[in-house]
Every structure is written in C-alpha cells, then in structure tokens.
C-alpha cells in the first residue's frame, strides 16, 4: 500500500542546502508494523512527514494506495490526511483550549461525521486508551502519557488504515511507553498499518520490521525485509525493489 520510489528531500535555506533524504525506496504492505530507526538528523521525521502527506518530496514519488500523493490537489491531500492517516506526534500536539473529548472529535469535524456520532465515538476511543474518566480534562490537566494516549485516540478518530507515529514514547517513562506500545500492538492486530520512529531498542522490538536510516538513506531493512522479499519471489509477482 505504501511505495516510495527514489524519494529525495532537499531543504534549501538561504545559501545552505541540506539533503535530508536521498533516493529512499521501499514498500510497506497493508497490516505491517514497522519501526524506523537511525541516528539523530538522519531524516526519519522528514520521511514520516512525507508519508503523512504533510510535506512533499523534492524528487521521487510517493504512492499511497495506488495514488501518487504529490499529484493530488490540496483538498484531496487534506482528505487523505483526514481519512487514511492517523498521525501521532512526539510532542502530542493537542489543542490546549479544547478538552480531551473535543480534541479527539476534531478530525471527525473535518470528516463530516454527524455530531452525535462524533461525541459517541470520541468517548469510546478515549475509553479504549484508558481515559474514559478524563473526557472533560484539558491537555494541561493531563500527564504526558495521558496526553499521548489522547493523541492516539485522536489519530484513530477516522479509523485510518495507516498510523504514523514520530517517537510516540520519546517523552515518556518506560512504563507509560509500554502502555502505548500495547495499544499499538492491539491496533496492528486489528489490521491497522503502523509505522513508528523510535530510538529505543525495546520499543522497536514491538515492530515486526525495522528500517534503519542513516544520512538520508536506507542503510538496512532488517528481519521482515528478507522474509517479504522471499515471499515475493515465491509469488513471482514483484521483482526486487
């Protein structure tokens, strides 16, 4: 469902050019649970933003569910962000003015879900992440782990097939981090594709496949990569990427 073909991202600021991604190519099938690892500044977040339709590659193509995202109109991209992708940020990014309940309802407002259903679904999602008793709390009244769980509930609001998480446990203690990962594992078992960035080996261990990035390039695509390749060869449908 995800296909990156020689994706390159170059930031141009004044005279300085920064190559954040250089010819990155890979495929991720629906239902995979992928961890992206790599040193700081290697381009992981940049890659994630492109996968999340928040940013466009400088060159190369990103195809999501058979559509080349770069060729879509603004509003079509907004629809994809709304309906197909749930994004979990390292810094939660909740709206401080709104309660947990209303924060979770936000994507549904843009998705045109009727109000009653919005209220209902948001409450259910918050219960699912263990915050059924915190609906009316504002972000400032919640702990870091709780805020990240609100953010996950929000990412699930439109029931997206793809969940992207940029260091979802980066700001959390180990115990809270494991709570989050348990939720991710359950979501993956339900069929959501999950791609997450992490620095921690024990977090990455939850994933079935790990992609290593270094200096804007895929340096290793461990475990699953080989198995998937083998599977492809058995099917005979796909050549090597």
């Amino acid at each position: 469902m995800i296909e990156c073909d020689r994706v390159t991202k170059i930031y141009r600021n004044d005279q300085v050019e920064t190559v954040a991604l250089a010819d990155v190519s890979f495929k991720i099938e629906g239902g995979e649970f992928v961890a992206v690892m790599g040193p700081s500044g290697s381009g992981k977040s940049t890659l994630m933003h492109i996968l999340g339709c928040l940013d466009a590659p400088t060159t190369g193509t990103y195809v999501l569910d058979g559509k080349e995202v770069g060729k879509l109109k603004d509003d079509e991209q907004a629809c994809i962000r709304n309906g197909k992708i749930g994004f979990v940020f390292q810094s939660y990014n909740l709206l401080p003015r709104l309660t947990a309940h209303k924060n979770v309802m936000l994507p549904m407002t843009y998705g045109g879900i009727p109000k009653d259903e919005r209220i209902d679904r948001a409450a259910k999602l918050l219960s699912k992440v263990g915050l059924g008793d915190r609906l009316e709390y504002k972000p400032s009244q919640l702990s870091g782990g709780q805020q990240q769980r609100v953010a996950i509930a929000r990412a699930l609001a439109m029931n997206p097939s793809l969940i992207l998480a940029d260091e979802p446990t980066g700001n959390l203690a180990t115990a809270q981090g494991e709570q989050i990962m348990a939720i991710f594992r359950e979501l993956n078992e339900q069929g959501h594709t999950i791609i997450m960035i992490t620095h921690e080996q024990n977090i990455a261990a939850y994933a079935k496949r790990i992609i290593y990035i270094r200096d804007g390039k895929v340096s290793a695509d461990n475990g699953n990569h080989g198995r998937r390749k083998a599977g492809n060869e058995e099917g005979g449908n796909h050549g090597p990427v």
């Binding site: 940013d55 603004d74 509003d75 197909k84």
Partner: protein, 420 residues
C-alpha cells in the same frame, strides 16, 4: 477491521454553528483585544447611524413644517427666477404690490384660486411693558388665516376693516406671548409697541409647532396696511401667498397667476418676469434635497471611520493568524481543507464586526435620540438603515477578514506545525 473510507465524499462545510461557537471561545480568550478590535466598528457604525438618523430627522422636520403650511399653496415672490431654482436677491425686490394681490383675487381670468394673501415680513423689536423681543412682524390680510390654516386660541384675527382703516391692532403667536407676558397668560386687550407705534393685542394664534428657521409661533401679525404705512414706510409687499382651489389645479393656478402678473407688469417675455412663483412642492423638494445631500455627506465621513475600523479588524486577525500558526498547522494535519480554515477565521472576524455593529447601532441611536432632543428635532431612523448597517458591518468582517483567513489557509501544514 480497518475501514476504507471513500476519500472524496465529505460534507461540504463543517457544522457552521459549531465553528461559530469555537470562534466565539477563541475570541473570549483575549477579551480586551476583542473589545478593542470591535470598538473601531462600534464607533464607525455608531457614527453612520447617528448621522443618517439626524439627517432623516431634519428631513422629516422640514417636511412636517412645509406640510403644515398647506400643500395647495403657491407663493409669489418679487425678483426674477434664475436657473436651477436659485433666485438671486429675491425679496429685496419691490415689484409686488397689494394691488397685484387684489387683482389676482378679482380677475375673471383666474379661476382656480381660492384665496390670496399678500404679506409683508420683516424683523423688528417688539416692546411690551418692560419686556422686549426681536421677532418676525407679519403684515397680513384676513386671507392669511385661511391660506395658512391658522387658528386662534383667544380673541380674533385681523379683519378687512383693520386693513382698510390701518387699524393699530396686533395678533401674536404663543411664543411671543410667553416671552413678553409670561407663559399661559392671555394678553388680549393689552398693548405692545413696534417702531414707536402702539398696537392693541386683539388675538392669540394657536401653536403650529416648528422650530428654528421657520418658527410659526414666534410672530406678530399686524394689518398689511399698518405694516406698510405706519411701521415700515413702504408700499410693496414681500410675498403673495395664493391658495389653489385644490392640489389638482396647482399648475393651472400657477399659470393663471403668472400670466396675470406678467400682463399687469406690462411684460411679454416670461423670461423677464420680475417675480417668481414657487409651490410648496418646489420648496419641499429643494429642502429635502439639501437635507439629503447633507445626510450623504455626513454618512460618507462616518463611512471613513468604518473603514478605519475594518482595517483594525484586519490587523487583529493578522496577529491572530500568526499567533495560532501551530494550531492551523495541526488542524490541517488532521484533515482541515483550505475552505475549513478560511471559514473558521472569517466567522471569527464576522463575529467581531457583527457584535460591533449591533453595539454601534445602539450607540448611534442613543446619540441621535439625545442630539435630536437637544436641537429640537423629531427623532427618525428607518429600519432598513439599521439592518443595512448591521449587514455592512458583517460584510466588513468578511472583506477585511478574508486576507488573513487566506493567509492562514495557505500555510503548509508542516511549516505551520514547526513554527515557533
């Protein structure tokens, strides 16, 4: 299982009411700024409403006054008619006489005229006992009461006998009564002096209202001949009021009187006429036009302050957009389309100007009511003007909010999210 939602099928505009309440909450976060931003609109709309209302009030006052003079009235003034209805030095001329008036009355050629009232109007000092006042002296014949629909509260009006004998009598208006003799008193039988001549008060007119330049209560009536020979030493009249038999024959009356006077003055070319004829309609039209021009001018000036208010709104909205860049980025990353962001900010700026507009209407009406009372005008303000200005204030919110809203909507989601 994971739902595969159709990507393009979405409700066109998110629930407007909800957006409005979100916008309201956002505005309430910074009450002082919100208040100051709408203040510009409050002042602008307030000024427009006050100006238009005062304009309408004075127009109404003019209409009421002129209506009260009688609507089938035409007035013959000495002096020539000039282009565009503007007469030069009218009234200074001496071309009309009492005999002209008599001729109009008796002529067989003039059939559409009901009554004819020659008049002399001058200002003079009037003395009664220790009190004195400067007021309008009106030399008149009995026809005046008929032509102007004048009524008396006490005594009688000037009679033909008074006119024929140059009687030393006077009929005074209620305002003169209160100035010279005290309010509510009945000075019939007492005397007053004008230019050294003693006149006996024989009647008091009923109040006709009116104020300022056409106050019909602040006047002293004397027989026409007395005014001409005894008080002012002149042999002309300053105007002749003619009442047509009905409004329908106004034009006919105008023509008949015109031809008769041309003939009497031995003139053949109407362009050389040494008099001019004005109907109440002309006066009404001219006065309304002046009031209208004035209203437009004042409203125009008030509009400028509205424009300034609008720029203030734009300024605040631009600041808001910068402040909330991260919020905009987040909303876009959650799937807000450009349209959604634009609507959000437009609603916010429209609420600012809508509330400002309503408050402005309240302020404007208050100012107009107080001012109308102060300068003695009947308060008047038409509903369409109120609705229009509230509409205009919302429109200002839209127009001046559009640029900031578009600026917000065009932010790239990731740049906006990363904004510090």
């Amino acid at each position: 299982m994971v739902g595969e939602r159709p990507v393009t099928k979405r409700v066109a505009i998110t629930d407007l009411f909800e957006t409005a309440s979100t916008a309201f909450e956002a505005l309430m976060l910074n009450k002082m700024r919100t208040a100051l931003a709408s203040l510009g609109i409050v002042i602008g709309i307030g000024a427009v409403i006050a100006m238009v209302s005062l304009g309408q009030s004075s127009q109404k006052a003019v209409e009421m006054q002129i209506q009260s003079l009688g609507s089938n009235l035409i007035t013959v003034m000495p002096g020539s008619q000039m282009t565009g209805g503007v007469r030069g030095a009218a009234g200074a001329s001496t071309s009309l006489t009492y005999d002209d008036a008599k001729a109009i009355e008796v002529s067989n050629e003039v059939t559409s005229v009901a009554s004819v009232s020659p008049e002399i109007s001058r200002r003079a000092q009037v003395i009664a006992g220790r009190n004195n006042t400067n007021t309008q002296i009106l030399g008149a014949t009995p026809a005046y009461a008929e032509v102007r629909q004048l009524f008396l509260t006490s005594g009688r009006f000037i009679t033909q006998q008074d006119v024929d004998n140059m009687g030393k009598v006077a009929v005074i208006g209620p305002q003169v009564v209160s100035v010279l003799f005290g309010e509510g008193s009945d000075p019939v039988g007492q005397t007053l002096r004008i230019n050294g001549i003693s006149l006996k008060i024989v009647g008091i007119t009923a109040s006709k209202g009116g104020s300022g330049f056409m106050n019909q209560d602040d006047v002293v009536f004397v027989p026409l001949t007395t005014a001409q020979k005894q008080l002012f030493g002149i042999d002309y009249v300053t105007s002749i009021s003619v009442a047509a038999k009905s409004e329908a024959v106004m034009n006919q009356a105008r023509n008949e009187v015109g031809y008769l006077l041309l003939h009497r003055h031995k003139l053949t070319d109407p362009a050389q006429a040494d008099f001019s004829i004005i109907s109440q309609e002309d006066v009404l039209g001219a006065a309304s036009q002046i009031a209208n021009t004035f209203t437009t001018l004042l409203a125009g000036i008030a509009m400028i302050s509205l424009l300034v208010g609008g720029i203030g709104i734009m300024n605040i909205m631009l600041v808001t957009v910068v402040e909330r860049t991260r919020e905009i980025g987040l909303r876009k990353s959650l799937g807000a389309r450009k349209k959604d962001i634009i609507v959000q900010f437009l609603i916010e700026s429209s609420i600012l100007t809508f509330v400002g507009g309503i408050l402005g209407v309240a302020v404007g009406i208050s100012i107009a009511v107080v001012a109308a009372k102060f300068i003695n005008l009947p308060f008047s303000l038409s509903l369409p003007v109120v609705l229009l200005s509230i509409g205009v204030s919302c429109g200002i919110g839209m127009i001046f909010g559009l640029y900031p809203a578009r600026k917000a909507a065009n932010l790239s989601p990731i740049d906006a999210l990363r904004f510090e």
